[in-house]
């Protein structure tokens, strides 16, 4: 079975400081990993994905994430946070060998960036 854990319900940072949102996963094979962002009263927007290749993945709005197989982690990072980055962030995983087509989502992490 595949699963994702986002250990922090909330992350608070000051504008201009680095932002990290943590994600760990569990799969039986190799993972496909995703980050999505949800702004208030909106649907989820795709930020970035890891499928294969370079462990450091760059995505939209200056975000990046590092795939760490030994720690089964896929933490989302941004070097300098903006107030506009305040939103709800979801990590998701798919177990590649599985014939099941679904993604499993974490519970979400609310990011608040204060001015």
């Amino acid at each position: 079975a595949q699963s994702v854990a986002q250990p922090e319900d909330q992350v608070n940072v000051a504008e201009g400081n680095p932002l990290t949102v943590k994600c760990t996963y569990s799969v039986s094979g190799n993972p496909y990993l995703f980050w999505y962002v949800q702004y208030p009263n909106r649907g989820l927007q795709f930020l970035l994905k890891y499928i294969t290749g370079d462990n450091l993945v760059k995505g939209s709005y200056g975000f990046e994430a590092e795939f760490n197989k030994s720690q089964t982690s896929f933490h989302l990072k941004k070097p300098s946070a903006l107030v506009s980055d305040s939103a709800l962030y979801f990590c998701a995983v798919r177990d590649v060998p599985s014939n099941d087509y679904k993604l499993s989502f974490g519970a979400g992490t609310t990011v608040t960036v204060r001015a």
């Binding site: 909106r42 649907g43 927007q45 795709f46 087509y101 979400g108």
Partner: protein, 118 residues
Amino acid sequence: NAGVTQTPKFRVLKTGQSMTLLCAQDMNHEYMYWYRQDPGMGLRLIHYSVGEGTTAKGEVPDGYNVSRLKKQNFLLGLESAAPSQTSVYFCASSYPFGLAGPNYNEQFFGPGTRLTVL
């Protein structure tokens, strides 16, 4: 290119009433999904479809039915609404997993339907 659209945006039902949520996508995606979002629980898959005329159960299918009569549409039905079905419902679509290239493997989401069952 509208992407994924959902109707209605908001709805209030009384217990026992029925309704259908409509999802439409114009990206020629094979796969479509219905999720519900509840506070602290992330997104949970209700039903999904890997092609026209086919549907399958997700994590939380009880109390819901779906149909995929056309490739671009995916309908979610509640036959007898219950207060436990108060939630925000999201539709998503994607290409088949495993294909290479940009925009493959990720899911594209609609804006959501906020449903309240009294």
